[in-house]
């Protein structure tokens, strides 16, 4: 039998019908880019507000009733309570419907689902975050978590890229990380405009230039599949072993709990066994199925 480590697979305890969403209320909307919005939300039920817990890296299924459901990672950090956040790029039916909603709107939410970033494994390591576009959303749930427990981790490098300056998400985060002396951040765009004074170039190229050391380091990668595909070989060149590379993946999902079948990579289901994987787990299948 091919050996794939599935020891991280969790046994979930769900109460009642797992497919029945909770009602959450949108409290604030932030325009990140022309096509990306962040929604701050809270449970309608007071009790759930207190009881709901999640870990960095987990996602939930959000629904606009009458339109449908879609999965989004929880983009806020569990270290910062008060409200929860998720970011949505307008690309299809459900995401368009979400973008039409205003503050106060009620939507459905079930979760949290999936595994999370392996905090124990990351402790006392140098962390290299590599993100493209809206791929920063799941990573910021971890980056803020790490910053809020700063002494548990060593160096923090962040390499973040977007197609153009207008496509950079979470600028307010980028600003605070730029000011934070314990964080090295490099921002790049594929193509700048007149006012852009920063770097130009694709994320994998910039990664090669920045060349973070692989010693006692873990790279955490999230972005569009094309970026992920080109980033892995660069990391390998820099000396990162497949176990030192962690990624969080996106697939078309429906159920979010490993039943409806569509989000698999080999025998692993992104919704149930992921979305966080080490490159070692998926490298057999990634070349042609991701």
């Amino acid at each position: 039998m091919p050996v794939i480590d599935i020891s991280h697979r969790k046994k979930f305890l769900a109460k009642g019908n797992v497919y029945l969403p909770h009602i959450v209320v949108i409290e604030k909307i932030i325009d990140e880019t022309p096509t990306v919005r962040t929604f701050h939300f809270n449970f309608k039920d007071e009790k759930l507000r207190k009881e709901f817990t999640f870990e960095s890296g987990q996602f939930a299924e959000f629904s606009v009733f009458g339109i449908g459901e879609a999965p989004f990672c929880i983009s806020s950090s569990p270290t910062r309570s008060g409200h929860l956040e998720f970011a949505v790029q307008r690309v299809g039916r459900v995401t368009n419907a979400l973008h039409r909603l205003g503050v106060g709107a009620e939507i459905g939410c079930r979760g949290p689902y999936g595994n999370s970033f392996p905090l124990d494994f990351l402790q006392s390591k140098n962390l290299v975050f590599i993100a493209g576009g809206i791929g920063l959303a799941p990573l910021r749930a971890l980056i803020w978590n790490v910053i809020d427990n700063r002494d548990k981790y060593k160096n923090i490098d962040i390499i973040y890229g977007a197609r153009s300056p207008a496509d950079l998400c979470f600028r307010y985060d980028l600003d605070s990380w730029n000011k934070d002396k314990t964080v090295n951040i490099v921002t790049t765009v594929d193509k700048g405009d007149e006012s852009w004074t920063g770097r130009e170039g694709f994320v994998p190229q910039v990664l090669e230039q920045v060349a973070p050391s692989a010693t006692k380091a873990v790279a955490i990668v999230c972005g569009p599949p094309i970026m992920i595909r080109f980033t892995f070989p660069v990391l390998e060149k820099l000396g990162f072993t497949p176990k030192q590379v962690i990624t969080t993946l996106e697939k078309r999902m429906k159920c979010g709990i490993g039943k409806c079948g569509r989000c698999n990579i080999g025998n692993l289901y992104v919704c149930r066994d992921g979305p966080v994987f080490s490159y070692a787990q998926i490298k057999n299948f990634i070349s042609s199925e991701y």
Binding site: P2, F12, V18, Y19, F65, V91, K251, R252, K259, C260
Partner: protein
Amino acid sequence: MTKKINKRDIGKLLTQWNQEFAIFVPSKEGDTTKMTSWDGKDVSFLDWYRNTVIPPKASFFPPLEEMFHFQKNKGSYDLELPASDGQKKLIFGIRPCDAKALAILDMIFKDAYEDPYYLSKRENTVLVGLGCTNPYDSCFCTSLGSNPSDSANVDIMLTDIGDQFLMEAITDKGKSLIANTSGLDDATEADEARAKEAQETSYRKVTKRVDTKDIEERLLSCFEDQDYWEKVTAKCISCGICTFLCPTCYCFDINDELVKRQGVRFRSWDSCALPIYTKMPMENPREEKWQRVRQKVCHKYEFYPMNFDVIACTGCGRCIRQCPVNWDITQILASLPVKV
């Protein structure tokens, strides 16, 4: 506790069971056949039934099923689960391969999160199996650890011994049902000997084979062999029949309908043979037909065994019989270009 019953008394038996259970029997419906609610008299299926085109999974995992409905009031929503009919059901005549398929489906629907829709129906249902005397050329259950008389996954098992059926209680559910059933005779040693002989004869009638030895490793070793997969899937027209009608396929889609202020969320059968199944706004990991057929084959013979330790194919042969272009999964498995 082995009993027997005359074939001409099956109607009476079903009438008796009908007091407690809704009975489902093999039925013709238009051009197709499936398990449907018994009309209280017709037992002619005993003459024509080999296996249903639509697998019995449809009784537990319907092609279209309400998950919940909701009402919109101003900007608020009230959600409500569908009422369960609470009705106990009995499926009469399920084939061993299809009963095994349900045991395979149980694993995925119980895994991690329990699927309440499937499991509640499953718990409420008694399976009365009927051994095959006339397997199809396309059946290959004996290659997958089962056989035409396999009683492993039913509550009660029937074996054709001429004018009668031998009737064995397999589970506690089956035992208590038989104990409470009148009009059954005790089986004699001679009956049991006849049943054994009939079972051996049926076993020999299944002649199609697949070699499942090291199948996971063999599939993994040629996973990236695009030329091979393109070649063996060239004639597939991506209709999805082989997945919709497969008794172990369970993929589904989830969608909403909202008319005025009344809405419903429902799920419906979906298929890995269809490109939209994995389509994302910017990419599709299985855009090409060969990738999708590869997924079907590997899911059954490589991935499902890795996760649940059982091959998710029972050898029922439906995908071979019903494919409009005569695609044959056993030929694929026999011709893998294994690289070791």
